[in-house]
């Protein structure tokens, strides 16, 4: 585990303090802001002159990348041509995959990280950030993706989990992670593990937005409880949600989830995308919805417009017109329990 991350950890720590190792308490923040006031930590900074050392992989940089995506659409692509279409249609980032989720569903078997040559082909084709998926708990896939230079890793339930108990220690990486959630407990556990960005799980590859709506509403419902709670209720609330109290304090300080929150899993139309924005999401992932539709370029452009103008129904009416057929959807209630991807990774 160590080789790839030693470099990042040293820089992050300003050569001053040791970070917790792999398997350490995930609730302990791993970022050590070079503290100019702490004496004897070897940092050359003072009150007036910050530490001159260049630092990489800090929480500010990881969460900052996610903040630059706000108000945008992140699109699943499987080759360079699709990546170029996504970029020219106004995507803020692309997710490089071997197959989109609806195809993964049909193919069955074990779904793994995309082939490196495919990720590099896509990276060569665009100047916007490139994301890629690693299996839940598969920290070696994540290290490979980091070594390939992807800009963000999605530890994703869409792939077959590699570990059914433990997620990746995302603090140990310089590259930011996005993770899925169905409720506030899952969201805050992922943030405690180091996720710099949260998305709903929804039900990927169905073209059906119902689960994403359920998940964003569930997060909002529990957030309202956290924000309204008396201070003394926080410990029992933390126990109920299964999260560290520190994460609830971060929510109260921010007045919301402390990191950027996107919608994902079943978004197929401009109206779906605008609905998720209206429900409080900062942006949307569109997976199968674009490149399995009849006119991917027009649909991609329309969803980009819908996310920027989500509260203007006249714009939504205009961009929803003349964009061809949406992907065929799936009734989520007809999925067998083992076909429900959202149950993976709690």
């Amino acid at each position: 585990m160590m080789n790839l991350n030693v470099h990042a950890r040293e820089e992050r720590n300003c050569g001053a303090e040791g970070g917790a190792g792999m398997g350490g308490d995930a609730a302990v923040p791993r970022e050590v802001r070079c503290d100019a006031n702490a004496s004897g930590n070897g940092c050359p900074g003072t009150d007036d002159v910050p530490c001159p050392r260049v630092r990489r992989g800090t929480e500010t940089l990881k969460e900052g990348l996610a903040r630059m995506q706000v108000g945008g659409v992140i699109m699943d692509v499987t080759n360079a041509e699709q990546a170029r279409i996504a970029e020219s249609a106004g995507a803020v980032a692309v997710m490089a995959l071997d197959r989109v989720p609806s195809e993964l569903r049909k193919a069955g078997g074990v779904a793994r990280m995309a082939a490196p040559e495919r990720i590099l082909e896509i990276r060569e084709a665009v100047s916007i950030p490139v994301m890629a998926k690693a299996r839940i708990g598969h920290f070696v896939e994540a290290q490979i993706l980091e070594a390939l230079g992807v800009d963000c890793i999605d530890e994703s339930e869409v792939l077959t989990p590699a570990d059914e108990e433990v997620h990746i220690d995302k603090h140990a990486f310089s590259v930011p992670f996005v993770c899925g959630c169905r409720n506030l407990g899952e969201a805050l556990r992922r943030i405690a593990e180091g996720a710099a960005m949260i998305r709903t799980k929804g039900e990927a590859g169905t073209g059906n937005v119902v689960e994403a709506v359920r998940h964003v509403r569930a997060v909002a419902r529990d957030l309202r409880r956290v924000l309204a709670a008396d201070g003394e209720e926080l410990v029992s609330l933390a126990r109920e949600l299964g999260v560290p109290v520190a994460q609830l304090l971060r929510c109260r300080e921010a007045g919301r989830l402390p990191v950027v929150q996107f919608a994902a899993g079943g978004i197929a139309t401009p109206a779906d995308a605008a609905l998720m924005m209206r429900l409080g999401c900062d942006g949307v992932f569109v997976g199968s919805g674009i490149f399995t539709s009849s006119d991917p370029r027009r649909r991609a452009e329309a969803i980009v417009e819908a996310v920027a103008h989500y509260d203007d129904p006249s714009v939504l009416a205009r961009v929803s017109s003349g964009i061809g057929e949406a992907m065929a959807g799936t009734d989520v209630r007809r999925l067998a329990p083992e076909e429900r991807l959202q149950e993976r990774g709690v």
Binding site: P50, A93, I128, E305
Partner: protein
């Protein structure tokens, strides 16, 4: 005197810019369409994806309105993607909707040390900036552009090592880093001074 500053609010870190302006005691508001309000004293083009923000600037007509305002003296601050949109010269494909005024060359994602635009999140960093008045501050660089060949009339406000990372040209300010993620600092003092001066002149009715 409080001045009103519009933050271009289609995509990117416009929320952070609004919060920072509020913390600095200035009224910021999201700007998504023209025409510009009469009492507008300054405008911020935030970080995000320059191609996406530029696309929305063009489609909304805001690009033309802002260009006219800027040419009439309206102060503007562009950070990261916003700086790319204000640069007169650009390496690689040019986003639509840009307002190419500040005479320098911008190179996107250029801190990777490899081929043009090869920079990735791996190359993002925090480092110390030296300001031309002797101050220093931290700068947050996320898949940042590089600034090159500033022409006559451009003041280099701050450098990282030898590299210019904050520039001023007339009423325009550009930064390769993200002051909105780091509490503002010297750049915001200069920008807000320019906005206040412009705002007090604008007490006399003006046409933009």
């Amino acid at each position: 005197m409080t001045v009103r500053i519009g933050v271009v609010a289609f995509q990117g870190a416009w929320g952070e810019h609004l919060r920072l302006l509020e913390r600095l005691g200035t009224e910021g508001f999201p700007l998504r369409s023209g025409p510009l309000p009469e009492d507008l004293a300054g405008v911020v083009l935030p970080g995000g994806e320059s191609t996406v923000i530029g696309r929305h600037l063009a489609a909304s007509g805001l690009s033309a309105a802002l260009a006219a305002g800027i040419d009439a003296g309206l102060p503007a601050l562009g950070t990261c993607a916003g700086a790319i949109l204000l640069a007169r010269r650009l390496e690689g494909p040019a986003p639509e909707g840009r307002i190419p005024r500040v005479p320098f060359l911008v190179r996107r994602n250029a801190w990777g040390g490899g081929a043009p635009q090869s920079g990735t999140q791996r190359d993002s960093f925090e480092g110390v900036l030296s300001w031309n008045d002797g101050q220093s501050s931290r700068g947050v660089f996320i898949r940042a552009p590089r600034f090159d060949e500033p022409e006559e009339g451009v003041t280099v406000l701050a450098r990282f090592g030898e590299e210019p990372v904050a520039l001023r040209w007339r009423n325009l300010f550009v930064a390769a880093f993200h002051p909105e993620l780091d509490g503002g600092g010297p750049l915001h003092s200069l920008f807000l001074d320019a906005c206040r001066r412009f705002g007090s002149n604008a007490a006399v009715p003006r046409r933009a």
